[in-house]
Amino acid sequence: MADLLTNAAAEQAQIGPGGLFMATLRRDLMLSLRRKSELVNPLIFFLMVITLFPLGVSPEPGFLAQLAPGALWVAALLATLLSMDGLFRTDFDDGSLEQLLLSPQPLFIVVLAKVLAHWMLSGLALTLVAPVIAVMLFLPAEGMPGLMLSLLIGTPTLSLVGAIGAALTVGLKRGGVLISLLVLPLYIPVLIFGTSAVQAAVTGLPLGGYLALLGALLALGLALAPLAIGAALRISVSG
């Protein structure tokens, strides 16, 4: 896999903003693939948090089924948050972030590529394993499409907003807890619409409205978050 990526990088000649986007995406994916633990940690965390619910609340199937949409979304949200701290930190520590900020290329391209890479390894991965874990919580089969779709559309927003927190705290030695404090309140709308979508799917109501709202949040996040992330990175590096 890694070799394939390297060869692809070698073939690319002309590097414009699009090339930078692809190069950064490839680089970040490659870095994560070479650090296997980072790849699976959010997934293991996701699984573990889900395990806590039957143990902590009740293993009764009917009850768990009712709890499942919220529990799955909260666990996915926390798992995304867990991996957020590392998004810019390694780049900050080894000086890559300075080089990135001094590039004449538009900053939001690199930022978007990094967030996309983060999402592919957290949100997208969580979306793919979510049905398996949902079965453990007795989520009815009708709820699965709602779960997958809402996670698919909702988790990129989580990555975008979380990256703002990561960028603001990247200069701090212990930013991990602080990120949660900054970002969790901002996650609430996504959580509300996400769980509602799953619940609607379970009860057989139409999902379209919720997914559209999640999509609107994502569009807004795509438009504005890179600006905030870029500004936050400049401020953090400056300090």
Partner: protein, 211 residues
């Protein structure tokens, strides 16, 4: 173009309740080496970070080719090579991958010269070895190979000679000499004296601020 490349006027910066420099002014012409001197903690790195645009916590004016630097930030970034305290090299990537990403950040660089640059710093044969298994000196040289790639007129180098052996230093000085000869400028900090370059001008930060 006549006039200085980079001009600094009335620069003021304080850190942790301490004035690092105040009323600092100087200019850097084409073909000139400016060496920033000063004791540890006198603000050498801070000054280089301000000049490169990384740090915005200062007061005063900086001009790039006669224009306020904030107005021509993109142009300035295109013409700048910054070599910081941290090498900006990813330990998990190979030297070649590191340089390729750097080329993507700077579209004017020719990515096909990456292997040539690595050869220049003596890293031939290490192209596909992850940087974390290289020695400290080799690690540093991965970063320095950017100097061979770059055609940026202004180089800002923060301690470029640490963790590099004597022969490497000589090669680096020759490189800086070539850069000056083709009309580039260098602003650097170093604990070593630069040999054989007549155009070195130094700015001492110890006389600045320090109240």
């Amino acid at each position: 173009m006549s006039g200085p490349m980079l001009k600094v006027e009335n620069l003021f910066c304080e850190r942790d309740d301490r004035v690092l420099f105040e009323g600092l002014g100087f200019s850097v012409d084409a073909g000139e080496i400016v060496q920033i001197e000063g004791a540890n903690g006198s603000g050498k790195t801070t000054l280089l970070r301000i000049l490169s645009g990384l740090s915005r916590n200062y007061e005063g004016e900086i001009y790039w080719r006669g224009e306020p630097i904030d107005d021509v930030r993109d142009q300035f970034c295109r013409e700048l090579l910054y070599f910081g305290h941290q090498p900006g090299v990813k330990a998990l990537l190979t030297p070649e991958e590191n340089l390729r990403w750097y080329c993507a950040l700077h579209p004017s660089l020719d990515a096909s010269r990456v292997s040539e640059a690595l050869e220049q710093v003596g890293l031939r044969g290490f192209e596909d070895v992850p940087c974390h298994s290289l020695s400290a000196g080799q690690h540093r040289r991965v970063s320095l190979s950017r100097l061979y790639l770059s055609d940026a007129p202004l180089w800002i180098l923060d301690e470029p000679f640490t963790a590099i052996d004597k022969r490497g230093v000589a090669a680096k000085e020759a490189l800086i000499g070539r850069h000056i000869a083709r009309g580039g400028s260098v602003i650097l900090t170093t604990h070593q004296d630069l040999q054989g370059s007549s155009a070195v001008r130094s700015i001492n930060l110890d006389q600045q601020g320090g109240t």
